[in-house]
Each structure stands twice: as structure tokens, then as C-alpha cells.
């Protein structure tokens, strides 16, 4: 029996759903860090992912919508970790049009800036049916 080359490795997914409450963000970031640690990421890269996920969850909590849960989906393969943070009606609400005070805008902007700085690709999408979601990708060094 031979080990398949990395490019043929099976993609795997891990899903997590947490209450949309501040005290649960630590669970999300540690869970995703555990997923990342099963890949070939360095400790520094795992810390990057951990912070980016926490920022996305924080955005979801701070967005003004009626959702009560945050969904986190991790998809892994030989080349990258793709994390989707979805909040029915709102992960990106604070990113697109935050009706916030001056200080809050600046602080919220820091979170988004951190996500974009720490991850390789970041996408934001809104679906009128399912809500909004933030997708971020961290690639393994080749």
C-alpha cells in the first residue's frame, strides 16, 4: 500500500456552531487552531489563524442582527486551510456599513485589517437567503 501524493490527499471538513456570545469566541479560535495544528503550519501561522478567526467571530457578535449562532466551517487539504465564519444576517454587516461611533469604527477597522494582514485570501459574501459570510484562506508554504 502506498501513501497517496499530497495533491491527491482527501479534503476534510470540520464544522462548529457556537452561541453568538463573547464567551464562546475562545472556543472557536482554539478549535480552529487545533485544526490548523494538524496541518504543516508553523506555530506563528497557527497563531495568525487563531487571531483571524477570533476577529471574524467578534465581527459577527458586534454586527447588529438577530442571529443567535455563529457557524464556523474549516476545510482542509494538502495546500490550504479555508475557514468560513457565517452569521445568519451579519458577519460582514460591521465591515460594510457599521453605524458605529468614531472610536468603534476605528477599532472595528483594526479587526478587519488584522484578518486581511494575517490570512492569504479574504472574501466576504452576502446571500439574501442564507445571510452573510466571511471566508479566509491560509496557504501552506510549498
Amino acid at each position: 500500500m502506498t501513501v497517496p501524493p499530497p495533491e491527491q490527499a482527501t479534503a476534510e471538513t470540520v464544522e462548529l456552531r457556537i452561541p453568538r456570545k463573547a464567551e464562546w469566541v475562545a472556543v472557536a479560535r482554539l478549535a480552529v487552531a487545533a485544526v490548523a495544528s494538524r496541518m504543516r503550519f508553523t506555530i506563528e501561522e497557527i497563531e495568525d489563524v487563531k487571531l483571524a478567526v477570533a476577529e471574524a467571530c467578534t465581527n459577527a457578535i458586534q454586527s447588529a442582527d438577530g442571529a443567535d449562532q455563529i457557524e464556523i466551517l474549516c476545510e482542509t487539504d494538502h495546500a490550504h486551510l479555508r475557514v468560513t465564519v457565517a452569521n445568519r444576517r451579519g458577519v460582514g454587516a460591521a465591515i460594510v456599513a457599521p453605524p458605529l461611533a468614531e472610536d468603534e469604527v476605528r477599532i472595528d477597522g483594526l479587526g478587519v485589517f488584522l484578518i486581511r494582514s494575517l490570512m492569504d485570501d479574504v472574501e466576504y459574501a452576502v446571500d439574501p437567503e442564507s445571510g452573510s459570510r466571511l471566508v479566509m484562506i491560509k496557504r501552506l508554504a510549498s
Binding site: E23, E44, A54, R106, G111
Partner: protein
Amino acid sequence: MDIKVNVRETDGETNIVELAGEIDVYTSPKVKDALGELIDRGVYNLVIDLEKVRYIDSTGLGVLIGGLKRVREHGGTVNLVCTNPQIKKIFDITGLVKIFGIYDSEDAAMKASV
């Protein structure tokens, strides 16, 4: 997951705020309250020791920025003690290294606040 806040007075006007744990969206209000209480009491020179902080996110940075903004209104300072590379990296990429004084030891931060 928690944050511990320990405030130490010194001989001078500066207070040392020692933080230990993780500063995130859940724990940062506790830090904000502690800093706010000091500033309300007229303590405008702060050394915030982050040596025992394992993690900080944008809400934690926001609390530090808010504290700095308030003490500066009274001519005060906030100097940080931090040697953790991952935390220093966050201050680097956000450009906050240019706003806060970041030092390797409490002694160095104290000297800078005088």
C-alpha cells in the same frame, strides 16, 4: 479563559497595571474598567505590563488605545512592557508601535514615563 488585573502603585505618579491571561472580546471589558477606574482617580501615567498576556485581539488593542487617548487629554502616558513576539507582531502590523512606547522591562517603561 480569563484576564487577571493587578494594579501596583509606585513612589512616583506612575501606576503599573499587570495583566495576565487572554484579552479578547469577552475579557477586554474587565481591562477597560480597570484602566477607567485608575484614570477617573487621576492616575494619568500608566505602565501596562503585558508579559503574562498570552493573547490579545483588536478589542484588547481598542481598550489600550482608549486608555491612551484618555490619559493624553491630561498630558499622561501609557507605556507597555512586552517581549512576546506574537503580541509584538500585532502591534507592528497595526502600526501601534508608533503610538505606544513598548519596552522590554518594567524598569525601562518606568524610566520612559518619568
